[in-house]
Structures are given as structure tokens and as C-alpha cells.
């Protein structure tokens, strides 16, 4: 590809209608406490991985709900499963099992 000195930006807009919500459905079936999330960000604030990377469980849950699966797949492996978020969560979301459920659901739906 010749270098023209400029590039075309990718569309950042979430196209809700075209995004599949199958991954979220699979995750929510495995860990229904995900519905309790109020997006407060307590989990991300305490997260060791978030201190050094752009990883955020709060964002990951929203990305799942919107069907932005690609970002979830690249993001979920950053979690080290330390479980601090679970201690911090005020809504009783089983965050550790949620993350394992996301990983397993990705495998099941062969997104890998």
C-alpha cells in the first residue's frame, strides 16, 4: 500500500443494531449478578491492572452490553484475577466469576 501521507480513521461509533449481544447473554446466564452493576467504577479504581493498562471492568461490562465484543476480548486477558474488585464492589457483583465467565463464554462462542 503506497503511503499517501494520510490515513482513513476507523468508525468509533457504536452501531447498536448491528452488534450481536450473544456474548453478553452467555455471560449474564453464567453470572447474573452482572445486572446489579451501577457503573460506579469502584472496581476499576482498586484494580492493579488498571493502574498500568487501560483495563477497566466497569467499561468491560458496558462494552459487553453494547456488543462491542472485540474490545472485550483484547481487554479481558489483562485481569490477573486477584479479586480486589470483588471486595470493593458495593453492589455484590461476583466480579471474579464474572471475568472467568467472560473468558469461558469467549471460548465457547469461539471468538478466540
Amino acid at each position: 500500500m503506497p503511503d499517501f501521507g494520510y490515513k482513513i480513521s476507523k468508525d468509533r461509533q457504536i452501531n447498536f443494531d448491528e452488534n450481536s449481544k450473544n456474548l453478553f447473554a452467555e455471560v449474564a446466564m453464567r453470572e447474573p449478578s452482572v445486572y446489579r452493576c451501577i457503573s460506579c467504577g469502584t472496581c476499576a479504581a482498586t484494580c492493579s491492572a488498571a493502574q498500568f493498562t487501560s483495563y477497566s471492568l466497569r467499561k468491560m461490562i458496558l462494552l459487553l452490553k453494547r456488543g462491542e465484543d472485540k474490545e472485550v476480548i483484547t481487554s479481558v486477558s489483562r485481569c490477573m484475577l486477584c479479586g480486589k474488585c470483588q471486595l470493593a464492589c458495593p453492589m455484590g457483583v461476583n466480579t471474579r466469576n464474572l471475568i472467568l465467565s467472560i473468558q469461558n463464554a469467549i471460548k465457547k462462542l469461539s471468538h478466540v
Binding site: 468509533r12 461509533q13 457504536i14 447498536f16 443494531d17 445486572y35 466497569r58 458496558l62 462494552l63 453494547r66
Partner: protein, 338 residues
């Protein structure tokens, strides 16, 4: 002879105050602009947060009315004046009323959603207001799109006409957030397979049980809450509405098609020009009436013998309106004793 109190407006505030004043031994006359008592309560199906039928509350208010209370419907005050220790009022019917005190309980008006033209109310087929939705529930009708089909995806838009400098209302209407959550649950109970989205800026779940209702909407009914104010709405050729918002918690713009859009209309002040002109009462920048003291004289005006109750002094829940009506009745009783 017992003293007389004139109540302007037979909504929740007027009726509750009337009941208390009668019990305290005063003669009450209520003047109501419309043809029936109960005010906007007549238009609601079920009330937040307990989802008690609105008719039950209205019935309760009616039961508390003294049989000797004079209720004048279809009438408007055209002139009102404080003369020494009495109040004199004239009605558009030519009738005159004398009283020793007057309670203004004229309530609020619903925001006219047509003013938010970009949301397409009465332009797009499938855009309705929260009041329209209440009417559908109240009449027991089926919730359908303009083409008579069951909607598969409904969006509920918060803050329509509230917190909006452009329409001149910078304040929060206080009741719309929880109404939106209540209506989302009601939609899901009617149409379980319908997806419901609430588009909000903040969820103001300030009162008792409000937060529980929000959790019920998420956990039991899987209602989705998207933080972002509706910026654009377009009508597709098939009548569905394409909306654009920013998902501000993700920092990404988003678009989706909705079969039906519900606009949560806020409260605006009623027409207070007569009170301003003839009773020299003040209104705030929000156009609601201003009480004599925000803490200690919240049901009194600066004018002798003139009192307030309910949403005429700003957006309020029905519970708070009833509490205020009772407080106003006691304040009036204290005033008339001296």
C-alpha cells in the same frame, strides 16, 4: 362564626389542605379551573415508587373532604385582593368570594414536548410523552407502535424540558427519573420481550425506595441504562426512530433504532401573572412562586393571609405535596387564631 379559607386549585395539595382545615373547624371554598377535582392525579395510572393506583390516592383525598366544603369547578379567579384582614376574590362566572385566608395550590404544568422539536414529538409517529404512556396504561390499552405492532425496542428519554437552558428550564423536575424507571418496569411487565433503554444524565433516585425500583428494573427486568442525553432523533421510512447519543460512560458515540420513544416531560410553572400583579407575589427565575422563607416559611407567602402548598412553589412528589398541604393548613390555622 367560623373563619373562611379560599383554596385555589383542587389538586392533591388543595384537597388535602381542605380536609385538614375542615377538621380544624374552618369553612372551606375550593375554586377549580377544570370540570373535576383531583388535578393531574386523574391522568396517572400508578404512582411511584410503590406503584399504588392513583385512583386509590384520589379516593382517599375525596373521603377526607368535609361534606360542607364548597367546591366551585369550571371557574377561574379573575381578581383577588387582600383588604385589611380579609381576602376578596372574583370569578369569571361573576361570583364573589370573601375569605379570611387564601391557599394557592395551583400546581404545575407539564412541559410542552413540542418545544424540544429535535425530539420529534407530534412530528414523528412513534414519539410519545410519559403522560401519553400513563394514559395508555390508565385506559388499559395495548402499547403499540403507530402501525399497531408490538414494539420490540423502546427508548425512554430523561430530562425532557428539565436541566435545559435552551428551553429556559435550568432546574431538575425531580419526579421524571423515578417515573422513567417505573414506566420501564411497567413496559417490561406488559411486553416482556421488548428491550427497554433509559437514556439519562444522572439517575436522581433520592427518595425512599427509589433506588430499589432502579435495581428491580436492572436485575429483574434487564432494563438498560445508558448515560447520555439524546442529541438527535430521525424518523426512518418505516416509522422507527434512529437516535444518536454518546455513551458517556464509554466515551463513545452510539446510534440505534427504536420502535417507540417515550419523552419524560418535566414540570413547568403555571400561569402566576394574576398573583404577581394583584397580590404582588414573587416568582423565581424558574417562574415558580417564591415562599417567604425557604426553611421556616415554606408554605407562607410574603403577603399577609396568602399561603402556598404543592408544586406551585417548585417540582414536588405527591408525598411531599401532601405533607406540605398539611403544613399549610396548620400555618393557616395559626394565622387565623391570632
Amino acid at each position: 362564626m367560623s373563619k373562611k379559607v379560599l383554596i385555589i386549585g383542587a389538586g392533591v395539595a388543595g384537597l388535602e389542605a381542605s380536609g385538614v382545615l375542615s377538621k380544624l373547624g374552618y369553612n372551606v371554598t375550593i375554586v377549580e379551573e377544570s370540570d373535576r377535582i383531583g388535578g393531574k392525579l386523574n391522568r396517572w395510572s400508578h404512582l411511584f415508587p410503590s406503584r399504588r393506583p392513583a385512583s386509590e390516592v384520589l379516593e382517599h383525598l375525596q373521603l377526607n373532604l368535609d361534606p360542607n366544603t364548597v367546591i366551585i369547578t369550571n371557574s377561574k379567579i379573575t381578581d383577588i385582593a387582600v383588604k385589611d384582614t380579609s381576602i376578596e376574590a372574583s370569578l369569571n362566572t361573576g361570583k364573589h368570594i370573601d375569605a379570611d385566608a387564601v391557599l394557592i395550590s395551583t400546581g404545575f404544568e407539564l412541559f410542552d414536548a413540542k418545544k424540544k422539536e429535535e425530539y420529534g414529538y407530534q412530528i414523528y409517529e412513534n414519539v410519545i410523552t410519559s403522560a401519553d404512556l400513563e394514559k395508555i396504561f390508565k385506559e388499559g390499552k395495548e402499547l403499540t407502535t403507530s402501525k399497531g405492532k408490538a414494539p420490540k425496542r423502546i427508548g425512554i428519554i430523561h430530562c425532557v424540558g428539565s436541566r435545559d437552558e435552551k428551553v429556559g428550564n435550568t432546574y431538575c423536575s425531580k419526579v421524571c427519573c423515578v417515573t422513567g424507571v417505573k414506566q420501564a418496569i411497567e413496559i417490561k411487565e406488559h411486553l416482556s420481550s421488548c428491550e427497554v433503554f433509559n437514556f439519562y444524565m444522572d439517575l436522581r433516585m433520592y427518595d425512599r425506595h427509589f433506588e430499589d425500583l432502579y435495581q428491580e428494573a436492572q436485575v429483574k427486568h434487564h432494563v438498560q441504562f445508558i448515560r447520555g442525553r439524546l442529541s438527535e432523533a430521525f424518523e426512518n421510512p418505516d416509522g422507527t426512530v434512529m437516535v444518536k447519543v454518546e455513551d458517556t460512560l464509554l466515551g463513545k458515540p452510539m446510534k440505534m433504532n427504536l420502535d417507540l420513544v417515550v419523552l419524560l416531560v418535566g414540570m413547568t410553572a403555571g400561569n402566576n401573572s394574576l398573583f404577581k400583579k394583584q397580590l404582588r407575589l414573587e416568582t423565581g427565575t424558574d417562574k415558580f412562586l417564591v415562599p417567604a422563607d425557604e426553611h421556616f416559611k415554606s408554605v407562607s407567602s410574603k403577603q399577609k393571609g396568602v399561603f402556598f402548598a404543592g408544586a406551585c412553589t417548585g417540582p414536588k412528589t405527591i408525598e411531599n405535596t401532601i405533607t406540605e398541604a398539611r403544613a399549610a393548613a396548620l400555618e393557616i390555622a395559626g394565622y387565623l387564631k391570632n
